[in-house]
Amino acid sequence: MAKIYVNGEAQEVTLPLNISELIKNNNVQQPEMVSVQVNEEFAERDEWDNIQLAEGDTVDFLYFMGGGSAL
């Protein structure tokens, strides 16, 4: 087990774990509407399968949000 931080909250995870798997584990409904940072660095979408997480990593999910002036 390892501890990582997702959007500021600690999560116990089993390694090895890549970003795509973390997204699945966190039930992100539409992965195409999320942008990901690992340790405050932007993670390219086509690298999500290759980026392995480690103990203490911080991961941020940034969601697309529209809103405002309704059309």
Partner: protein
């Protein structure tokens, strides 16, 4: 510099009393020119507070007319305004609140043909739009023109905002390109709690006033997000991305792009 009249000293007394603002800060506010893109859920509270604060010139961009379904959150528009252009409805309220404010109205859509022209006439831009093609357009135009702006987005019970100054992280540093058309619901499809627009819009208005008065720390290089269900606010640190296609080390975007919009987002009046 502006010499404040007695009436203005009274009107803005609660700003002038603030040590960080004072007469000098109020004069900066009164010399400021702000463009508000979208006279809707976010543009409404932004425009109302900026007008009350005495921003010298406010530009409003919106091609739409007021719809009954807007009134649940777009508090600058009243029941009697249904059917009239949003920019006209908003202008009337701004001038009723504060006749000192000069209002420019642009009853048109912002696109690659007019964005730089319009933006260049203002000192600070507020993104109060609902759709990703225009959010990227505003970001790109502001970065190209070296203009600061406030980004805002709301959905259901959530809001997010950041402030960009030249050299700080831009929208593309965080979100490379618009999501596939139709992938992300907008408020018109997913709904939004009306007061969320007020929460987010007033943060954007406060950031605008902080920018002009130089007070405090702006929301640069961080994305503020909140969930109104739990009232948890979260600051996510972000940084300029070296590989950013717009502001990175080897930019590839050198012109404004009109992205396709999901068909279901298009006007339905």
């Amino acid at each position: 510099m502006i010499d404040l009249t007695e009436q203005q000293i009274e009107r803005y007394s609660r700003h002038i009393l603030l040590q960080d603002v004072g007469v000098e800060g109020q004069e900066k506010i009164m010399n400021a020119r702000v463009l508000v893109v979208g006279a809707g859920g976010l543009g409404a509270p932004v425009s109302l507070y900026l007008a009350a604060a005495g921003i010298g010139r406010i530009g409003l961009v919106d091609a739409d007319v007021v719809d009954l379904s807007n009134l649940q959150r777009q508090v600058i528009h009243f029941t009697r305004d249904v059917g009239i252009p949003k920019v006209e409805s908003a202008k009337e309220k701004i001038q009723a609140i504060n006749p000192d404010v000069q209002v420019d109205t642009y009853r048109e859509f912002l696109d690659s043909s007019n964005a730089l022209d319009i933006i260049s006439q203002y000192d600070f831009i507020v993104d109060g739009t609902d759709n990703f093609p225009v959010k990227f357009l505003i970001n790109d135009a502001c970065v190209m023109a070296g203009k600061p702006f406030s980004h805002g987005g709301i959905l259901r019970f959530h809001g997010q905002t950041f402030t960009h100054l030249p050299g700080t992280a831009c929208y593309r540093c965080m979100f490379k390109e618009p999501p596939p058309a139709g992938a992300v619901p907008t408020c018109s499809q997913a709904g939004v709690l009306g007061a969320i627009a007020g929460m987010l819009g007033t943060i954007q208005a406060a950031e605008t006033l902080k920018y002009f008065t130089g007070v405090g720390e702006l929301l640069t290089n961080r994305l503020l997000t909140f969930d109104a269900k739990t009232m948890q606010f979260n600051n996510i640190k972000v940084r300029p991305r070296a590989s950013c296609e717009l502001c990175g080390e080897h930019p590839t975007i050198d012109h404004l792009i009109d992205y396709e919009q999901a068909a279901c987002d298009l006007k339905h009046h």
